[in-house]
Subunit: 337 residues, 2 copies
Amino acid sequence: MNIGEIARRAGVSRSTVSYALSGRRSVSPETKQRIQAVIDEIGYRPNAAARALKEGRTRTLGLVIPPASLRLTDMQLGFVASVVEAAARADLDVLLSPSGGDHDRSFERIVSGRRVDGVLLMEIRLEDERVGRLRQAGLPFVTIGHTADPHGTSWIDVDYAGLVARCVHHLADLGHRTIALLNRSPELLAAGYGPAHRAQAGFAEAVRQRGLSGIELPCADDPAAGEEWLEQLREHHPDVTAVTTVNEAAMPGLQRGIERLGVAVPGELSIAGVAARHWAEGFRPQLTAADVPALEMGSHAVELLLERIATPTHPHRHLLLAPPISLRDSTGPARPD
Amino acid sequence: MNIGEIARRAGVSRSTVSYALSGRRSVSPETKQRIQAVIDEIGYRPNAAARALKEGRTRTLGLVIPPASLRLTDMQLGFVASVVEAAARADLDVLLSPSGGDHDRSFERIVSGRRVDGVLLMEIRLEDERVGRLRQAGLPFVTIGHTADPHGTSWIDVDYAGLVARCVHHLADLGHRTIALLNRSPELLAAGYGPAHRAQAGFAEAVRQRGLSGIELPCADDPAAGEEWLEQLREHHPDVTAVTTVNEAAMPGLQRGIERLGVAVPGELSIAGVAARHWAEGFRPQLTAADVPALEMGSHAVELLLERIATPTHPHRHLLLAPPISLRDSTGPARPD
DNA sequence: AGCGGTAGTCGAATCGATTCGGAGTCGGCC
DNA sequence: GGCCGACTCCGAATCGATTCGACTACCGCT
């Protein structure tokens, strides 16, 4: 079931079969038809390895994901799925590599074995050695999130700073004067995780601009912590009338806390945040939030990467996504003091 | 940076380099060392495509996932991650293919392009044409879940029937006489989705055995539906004192309903189910449940597949996982009528 | 001394595709 | 009639590895 077999059955040479398939040289309609008939009968497809060897490209993209031990967030999951679909639309396959920062075998195999034409790097850290490795290998890549030096690479990211700021402004417009930030876990913050840092920065800046008082109370990335967080907030900061959240994982706990403590939302407490749409809509009351466009991000990332593969010398492009805030039911005027 | 370059720099022939690397023939310690030095300096790795072409194997596994449009469940996600890690441990890469039942390009490319050495098929349906396609292509595969004819294939699955039955028995032991099943969505049931069917069958059988009355109330796979489901249950089946659930996606809604309606668990209503551990532990009160071992399933599936790749003629093996029920806080004695 | 065996190395074939150079045929045009 | 170009097609080289057969050198044994 190789090209030679097709050629034999169609009574032509191998090169003719190849040209008939690729269309790079003209082949008479009759032979083309004869070849196609044989192919349809046998169900032939060119061997991917042979083609990759000759052409020097694999028609495969590498997607470097965080290791399974760190549970993927819902948003990351959506991103992976959308990358795979976007790649499939371009007739490309996706090779997965679980990699925790330190160079590991899987990552090395993909990069130096030239198994892929380009790489998407998820969960990038501010200083990330994998970037250097890819650059050295001359492999096109796009990062999801950006590094300390944003100019040397192509990346796509969510504008957490801007989105959190928008939330704060929205809440301030409603008359709230004391706002709390429910950020990602202190561990991530300490590890230099970009989104957590930028959320913090955006919050601080917006609070300053509007002359509000901003409360930052640390919270781990899980439901139990979210519930606990709300209790702490009620106890130690009773004057807080609004919350901005970027912590999806803590939301179920937040929800539970609201129900259990009988907090009226938005009557007593307004909540605005950054979350995937289905999280926001699944919340009660439905959450006013900037809907993180995980699915769009996947296809944008693939697009960016394809562009780099096609023209590696092009200047780098950056996409900072700032989806609008969808007004739902969790924000309202501040309660009078 | 190919093997010829290494050979030239080390002053030996290409074959010697290859033998030094593979160890299939003896190479003198001195030349071996010289070759290794060159390799370390250049950072050489054999080209994956060339090797795949010659060896006839790609050192890659294919993982066929449901398309992104159907949101992956938490358990499926965990499974994907664990497959990737298990494969990485065996120095194998994983190629993703999103495929919704009907033969699509991505699936065809992987199969007939011989891009992988074996395939893991997720979300299999009772009648699944992909199985026939793989068999015809002579590609080893393992299915996650089993088809109508379970003997012709190797598969791994969760014993939903057994687990649901266990839940029912546990609840019956506690004195419950009227039990409801919170199954997967009617659409899945209609589509012949195995887990939903087997949950239903296991429930019916256990209920019959114990002479209980079993309630089946359909519920979609999302939080809002879960909340609605509980309302319906309370309204139309007030005599139900216990629930068995296999619907993870509906759980947040169930939780919310419990809080909002003020249902005492387990005082008024006992709940036992099948769910990933962190879902069960995230529930309030913590859920008595059979913890679906998504992470183990991944490595088991890879193991099974590697076995089939190594010895394709071996008789098929099947793994039906039935994890024990972990007693937590959501089940208790039936309330007296 | 002659012979067999082994360790170490090389050259060439091979995997299955793509692609370049060239060869043959045919028609049109001067 | 001869030449040029277009249209078809073929043969051979090539991509980068693995592997088989063969060759040399050296050792030990009779």
